[in-house]
């Protein structure tokens, strides 16, 4: 009897996992199918049918070239690199100050960072837009970069959490050797924060790569389009050519797929740490 119950539970467990995996994969797999079909083949075959020729990359070439995706990748990478380096530095610097020093106004500063998490950034876009405009950053890459830097409170949290676990006896012994506070930050704290930095890079990197709102509103110029906005533009010229749109979708998500497969372990940790406050 227990054996039967155990088997039944096991069947339910695996069945639910397989169904969930199917639901998670199906929408993507049909896009992969469509991206490899010729126009005529797409028109006559069911979306569920695999392509006749698995190596028909014509749609990919067309999407990549006509869809200007190279520009998108270039801008995305520039923005990613500058924003991530900046967020790591500013985030770890403020966390170092807040964790290691006692000073007047510290409580207010911590509260200011905390309170800011209550403000969902989408609600303030209308007003933020005016600020970006006033700073003359509209339609420049810096619009996105300063916003990715400025609204980043998650990074501060992650760094604060990690700093708490680094013993301040290390700082003190360095001070006995005559190290300056800057040396302590640069030579001791920053290297020890490596796991936190990886976490920040992953969480921020995913957000920036996938963000649509910011580049769409602040950098509408064609030269400045990122992957998201480049793909969004497919809606116009390729409106009914789903095989080309599908290739564009695949081009946008293949880098994510590769990075996920390579860094799986770190990504899981990153998200678990990034969101547990």
């Amino acid at each position: 009897m227990t054996q039967l119950k155990y088997t039944l539970a096991s069947v339910v467990k695996y069945a639910s996992l397989v169904i969930a995996a199917f639901i998670a994969l199906l929408p993507i797999v049909v896009i992969l199918f469509a991206s490899l079909k010729t126009n005529a083949e797409y028109a006559t075959s069911s979306p569920l049918a695999p392509p006749a020729n698995w190596l028909n990359f014509a749609n990919y070439t067309k999407a990549f070239v006509d869809g200007n995706m190279l520009v998108g990748f270039k801008n995305t990478i520039i923005i990613l690199i500058i924003s991530i380096i900046g967020a790591t530095l500013t985030g770890s610097m403020i966390a170092y100050v807040l964790d290691r020093f006692k000073f007047k106004g510290k409580k207010i500063m911590v509260a200011a960072f905390l309170l800011a998490t209550l403000i969902p950034s989408v609600t303030t876009q209308v007003a933020t837009f005016q600020i970006i405009n006033a700073l003359d950053l509209f339609n420049t890459r810096w619009a996105a970069i300063v916003m990715y830097l400025g609204t980043d409170i998650i990074a501060v949290y992650i760094f604060l959490q990690f700093l708490g676990s680094i013993s301040s006896a290390l700082d003190e012994s360095a001070m006995l050797d005559g190290a300056s506070y800057f040396t302590i930050y640069w030579k001791i704290i920053l290297p020890l924060l490596k796991p936190a930095i990886v976490t920040v890079i992953i969480v921020k990197g995913v957000n920036i790569y996938n963000d649509f709102y910011t580049p769409f509103l602040y950098m509408p110029k064609t030269d400045l389009q990122v992957i998201s906005t480049a793909l969004f533009k497919f809606k116009g010229p390729f409106g009914s050519q789903w095989e080309v749109i599908s290739a564009g979708i695949m081009i946008a998500i293949i880098p994510t797929m590769i990075i996920f497969l390579l860094l799986q372990k770190y990504i899981y940790n990153g998200f678990a740490q990034g969101s547990v406050k």
Partner: protein, 295 residues
């Protein structure tokens, strides 16, 4: 010369220097992009500004009365309810899968990867993927034909009664993995010997879930709930990319964006944003207070 090098200063001087130098940029950014917009938004919400003209007039609470009296503006709250309800489905699924994948399962990493992966995908790509999924003769229709449910196919994105269910479904597909991975992390931090002890006492899986897992992750559960509620109210990417708010799928944020950037009603859009902000803050505060009561 000696005094130009920071490392030769006394520690008290260094202290002041480092506190100022390390704080100024983060604080300036925080103020410019978190607080200044909120202050300005409140100010704009009492005006009839169109966003570009040199002058604007204060109109008192006119924008606010309009939001609460014109059903056109109020409808968006009803749309949020779909996303809100979907959130519970999403959290339930996430919790279920996180629990079963915390124990011994064949192909654990494979399933973990597949369930989490959608969350990492580009928002625009997901919008397109689901346009293809829901379009007439698209993936969903063909799948239903294949399993003999052909007569139930719908205009998933054309029927105003269904459209928000479809869109909320896409949203569950996208965000479930996020809740899942967070729950998984929380569950894995429960010490292993607690399970072993309960095994010896003869507890079954359900009892272990009910009395060990659930109490240990209450805080994470509540945190996710807050995120989910504000997420439901600020739903944007998926409906904007897929339908641009047509057929009754207009969400709060799409409407704000339309009002501000398409119709130049910046004052009104700001008032809507203020209302949204107040709701989110209220929900969070209520949540925090009830959480404190339980601890």
């Amino acid at each position: 010369m000696k005094y130009l090098k920071v490392s030769n200063w006394g520690y008290s001087a260094q202290r002041i220097f480092i506190i100022c130098a390390f704080s100024i940029i983060p604080l300036a950014l925080l103020f410019t992009f978190a607080y200044l917009p909120v202050i300005n938004m409140f100010k704009y919400s009492f005006t009839d500004w169109n966003g570009y003209s040199k002058r604007f007039d204060y109109v008192g609470f006119e924008n606010y009365t309009r939001i609460f009296s014109d059903p056109e503006y109020f409808k968006v709250f009803i749309v949020s309810l779909y996303y809100f309800v979907a959130t519970f489905l999403q959290m339930g699924l996430a919790l279920y899968f996180a629990t079963i994948l915390s124990f011994k399962v064949r192909g654990k990493n494979f399933f973990k990867g597949i369930l989490f992966f959608p969350y990492l995908l580009n928002g625009v790509a997901i919008g397109f993927i689901f346009l293809f999924f829901f379009k007439p003769d698209g993936t969903l229709d063909m799948l239903m034909h294949a399993v003999g449910l052909g007569q139930y196919t719908q205009l998933w994105l054309g029927n105003p009664n269904i459209i928000n269910v479809s869109l909320a479904g896409a949203s569950v597909w996208r965000y479930m993995g996020f809740n899942f991975i967070i729950f998984l992390g929380a569950i894995s931090s429960i010490p292993k010997d607690v399970y072993e002890a309960s095994d010896i006492d003869g507890a079954n899986r359900w009892q272990q879930f009910r009395h060990i897992i659930l109490p240990s992750i209450t805080r994470i559960l509540q945190l996710n709930l807050i995120l989910a509620i504000s997420g439901a109210i600020s739903a944007f990417d998926i409906p904007y990319i897929m339908t641009d708010g047509s057929n009754g799928s207009m969400t709060f944020v799409i409407q704000t964006v339309h009002l501000a950037f398409k119709y130049g009603k910046l004052g009104l859009a700001s008032a809507m944003a203020v209302v949204l902000l107040l709701i989110v803050i209220l929900v969070t505060l209520v949540q925090r207070v009830t959480m404190k009561g339980e601890e």
